[in-house]
C-alpha cells in the first residue's frame, strides 16, 4: 500500500473528540437544522416539536434495530416495516374503535411483534439462514398475512389512544418523553446487564464470546424478540398517531431504521452501540424533511438531501480502525 493511502486509511478527517463520539454528529446536525428552520419559519419550535413527534416511532424501531446490529456483521432486521403494519392493523382491529379494548390491543400489538421476532430467531438459529434473508422472507410472509386478514383497509384507532399519542407535556410530545425514558433504560440494559454486555461481546467476536460462556443463543433470541416487540409497539402507536393502520404504514422504516442506528454512531459491524445517537439521528431525519417542506422543495430533493446527509455523516465519522 502506498504512503498516501496509508495516511488516509489511518487518519480521521475530523478532530479526535468528534471522531470518538460519533453520536455527537447527529446532534450537531439537529442544531444546524434548527437554526436553518428558524431562519425560514416564524415558529421554529413548533416545527421542532412536530419533528420529534414523528421521530418517536423511528427511535422505537431504531432501538430494536440497534440491538440486532450490535450482534455483529450480517445481523439486520428487515422485517420491521410489515411487523409495524401487521401489529398496527391487528391491534386496532381487536380494539374495535372503543376505549375498553386499549389494553388488549397493546397486548396484541406487543405479542404479534414478539411472535415475528421469535420466528426470525428460529429461522436464523435452526434454519441456519442468514439473518438478512431470513427476516426478509418472514417480512414477505407477514405482509401476506396483513393483506389476507386485514385487506389493507384503514382501521380507525380508538379515541382514547389517539388522544394519548397526541398529548403534550411542556410543549413536548408525551410519547417522545416516554420513548426517551425507554432509550435511557435500554442504555442501562446495554451497558450494565449480562444480556447487553453479552450482545456487545458477540458483535465483537462471536466465537470468543461463546468460549467466554456468553449464552449466544439466548442473547440472540432476546435480541430478535425485542426488535419485534419494539416494531409491534411502534405499529399500534403509529397507527393511532396517523389516524389508522394501513398496509404501507411501515414502508419508510426499512432503510430509515438502519440509517438512524448508523448515523447515530453504532457500528454496523457490531459490538459497539450507541443509544443517544439514535434519538439525535431520528430527530435529524424528520427535521430535514420538515425544513425541505417549509422551503417548498419536493419529495425528490428531500430524498437526495437525506441521502447526502447520511453518506456525508458516515464518511466523516468513518474511522480507519478494523471494522471487519
Amino acid at each position: 500500500m502506498s504512503n498516501g493511502v496509508n495516511l488516509l486509511y489511518k487518519k480521521s478527517l475530523v478532530p479526535n473528540t468528534l471522531a470518538k463520539s460519533r453520536w455527537l454528529w447527529s446532534y450537531i446536525g439537529v442544531i444546524i437544522l434548527y437554526i436553518l428552520v428558524s431562519t425560514v419559519s416564524d415558529s421554529p419550535f413548533q416545527t421542532f416539536s412536530a419533528s420529534i413527534s414523528f421521530s418517536t416511532f423511528l427511535i422505537l424501531v431504531g432501538l430494536g434495530q440497534m440491538l440486532v446490529i450490535t450482534n455483529g456483521p450480517g445481523n439486520i432486521d428487515l422485517s420491521i416495516p410489515y411487523t409495524i403494519a401487521f401489529a398496527g392493523s391487528f391491534s386496532l382491529k381487536v380494539i374495535g374503535g372503543t376505549n375498553e379494548g386499549i389494553i388488549l390491543g397493546l397486548v396484541v400489538a406487543i405479542a404479534s411483534g414478539m411472535a415475528v421476532g421469535m420466528f426470525n430467531f428460529a429461522l436464523i438459529r435452526f434454519g441456519l439462514i442468514p439473518p438478512m434473508v431470513a427476516t426478509l422472507a418472514s417480512s414477505f410472509i407477514v405482509r401476506t398475512l396483513t393483506i389476507v386478514f386485514f385487506r389493507g383497509m384503514l382501521i380507525k384507532p380508538p379515541p382514547g389512544l389517539e388522544r394519548f399519542v397526541n398529548t403534550k407535556l411542556l410543549g413536548l410530545p408525551l410519547l417522545f418523553l416516554l420513548t426517551v425514558f425507554l432509550a435511557v433504560f435500554m442504555h442501562f440494559i446495554l451497558n450494565r446487564t449480562t444480556y447487553g454486555r453479552g450482545i456487545q461481546a458477540i458483535g465483537q467476536n462471536t466465537k470468543a464470546a461463546y468460549l467466554a460462556s456468553v449464552k449466544v443463543d439466548r442473547c440472540k433470541f432476546i435480541t430478535y424478540t425485542l426488535s419485534g416487540l419494539f416494531a409491534g409497539l411502534a405499529g399500534i402507536l403509529l397507527a393511532s398517531f396517523t389516524g389508522g393502520a394501513t398496509l404501507g404504514m411501515g414502508g419508510d422504516y426499512q432503510s430509515n431504521s438502519i440509517a438512524v442506528v448508523v448515523v447515530g454512531g453504532t457500528s454496523i459491524a457490531g459490538g459497539d452501540s450507541n443509544v443517544q445517537g439514535i434519538i439525535g439521528a431520528s430527530i435529524l431525519l424528520y427535521l430535514i424533511t420538515n425544513f425541505m417542506n417549509i422551503i417548498g422543495l419536493g419529495v425528490g430533493f428531500r430524498n437526495i438531501i437525506t441521502g447526502i446527509v447520511i453518506v456525508g455523516i458516515i464518511l466523516a465519522t468513518g474511522r480507519g480502525k478494523g471494522a471487519r
Partner: protein, 324 residues
C-alpha cells in the same frame, strides 16, 4: 488461496467444486419449472419460453450486479432504486437529450467507482453507504419522472422483443450470460483476484495486488450491470417509473444466495446466479398458473426462499454448530 501463481490444477479443482455448488440452484429451477410445464404444456414452445423468461432478463442482470458486490464481501442496498432511476433516464431523458442521458449513465458508473474506493480508503461498510445512495437515486428518479410515464426509445424496445431464429432470445441471453460469468470468474486472473478479495483481503494485498483498484473496478461493474438491468426493464415495460424496481435489491440478494453465493464473499457461481434469478422470476409465474391469489403470492415466495435456503444450509452443515 494462491493468487500469485495460477496453476492449471488449481483451476480444475475450482471448477469441480463449482459443479457441486450449482446442484442446489439446478434442483430448485427444475422444481419450479416442471410444474409450470405440467400445468401449461404450451410454454414449451418458442413463444412460451420467450414470455416466460423475458421478465427474468432484468432480474438476472441485477442479480449479477449484486453477485459482484457480494463476491468481494460487500452488498449493494441501492440497486433497486438505481434500476428504477435508469428506467427514468432511458425513458424520459434519452428521447429528449441523448447526450445528457449517456453522461448521466456514465456518471453513475463513476460514482460507483468512487464508492468502491471510499469503502476501502475509509474502511466503511457498504450496506450503510448504499442505503444513503438509495435515497439519492430515488430522489433523482422522482425529479426526472415523478410518476410512471416516459417514452422508451424504440430501438431498446425492439431489441427486447427481438425474435432470434429457433432459440428464443431470452434463453440465448441466459446461456451466454452464464457462460460469460463462468469465464470471467473461473478462467481469468481478475476472477481469481475477485474471489480472493472476498476470501481474504489481506492475503491479496500481501501478494502485491491492489485491493483498492480491484474494489473500484468491481463497483464499476456493479453499476454497469445495474444500468443494463434498468435499460432492459425499460425496454420490456416501455415505461419510466421511479419506483418500479424497489424490491429488486433484496430479491437480488436472495437470488445470489439461491445460486450458491454467500454473504461472507469469496464463493460464487455464475451459472448458479443465472439459475437463481430465473427461479425467483418463475416462482411468480408458477403461483399465477396455480391460481394462487395475488394476495398470497409474496408470502408464498418468502416461504419458498426459506425452504430452499433451509435445505441448502442443512446440506452444507458439517455437524458442528455454526453461528450465522
Amino acid at each position: 488461496m494462491d493468487t500469485q501463481t495460477i496453476k492449471p490444477e488449481l483451476l480444475k479443482g475450482q471448477s469441480r467444486k463449482m459443479s457441486k455448488d450449482i446442484l442446489m440452484p439446478l434442483v430448485s429451477i427444475i422444481l419450479v419449472s416442471v410444474p409450470i410445464v405440467i400445468l401449461k404444456p404450451r410454454v414449451m414452445s418458442y413463444m412460451g419460453i420467450y414470455l416466460l423468461l423475458n421478465m427474468a432478463i432484468p432480474m438476472v442482470l441485477v442479480t449479477i450486479a449484486q453477485m459482484f458486490a457480494m463476491t468481494i464481501g460487500e452488498i449493494d442496498f441501492s440497486l433497486g432504486n438505481l434500476v428504477s432511476l435508469v428506467t427514468c433516464i432511458v425513458g424520459t431523458v434519452f428521447p429528449k437529450n441523448p447526450g445528457l442521458a449517456i453522461a448521466m449513465l456514465a456518471s453513475i458508473i463513476a460514482i460507483y467507482m468512487i464508492i468502491g474506493a471510499l469503502l476501502y480508503l475509509r474502511n466503511l461498510q457498504s450496506i450503510v453507504v448504499t442505503i444513503g445512495m438509495s435515497f439519492i437515486w430515488l430522489g433523482l428518479a422522482i425529479l426526472i419522472q415523478p410518476s410512471p410515464g416516459g417514452n422508451v426509445p424504440q430501438i431498446i424496445v425492439s431489441f427486447m422483443q427481438m425474435k432470434t431464429p429457433f432459440i428464443p432470445m431470452p434463453l440465448i441471453f441466459m446461456i451466454v450470460m452464464a457462460f460469460l460469468l463462468f469465464l470471467i470468474l473461473f478462467r481469468t486472473n481478475f476472477g481469481i483476484l475477485l474471489r480472493g478479495v472476498g476470501g481474504n483481503k489481506r492475503a491479496v494485498e500481501q501478494s502485491g495486488h491492489s485491493v483498492l483498484k480491484t474494489q473500484m473496478f468491481v463497483f464499476g461493474i456493479v453499476g454497469l450491470f445495474g444500468i443494463l438491468s434498468g435499460t432492459a426493464l425499460a425496454g420490456i415495460t416501455t415505461s419510466a417509473d421511479p419506483k418500479i424496481a424497489q424490491n429488486y435489491t433484496l430479491i437480488a440478494v436472495a437470488s445470489v444466495l439461491l445460486g450458491g453465493g454467500s454473504f461472507a464473499g469469496g464463493t460464487v457461481s455464475g451459472v448458479g446466479v443465472v439459475l437463481g434469478a430465473c427461479t425467483m422470476t418463475l416462482v411468480g409465474t408458477l403461483l399465477t398458473f396455480l391460481k394462487i391469489s395475488p394476495d398470497w403470492q409474496i408470502g408464498t415466495q418468502g416461504m419458498i426462499i426459506l425452504v430452499v435456503l433451509f435445505i441448502n444450509s442443512q446440506l452444507k452443515k458439517s455437524g458442528r454448530v455454526r453461528y450465522v
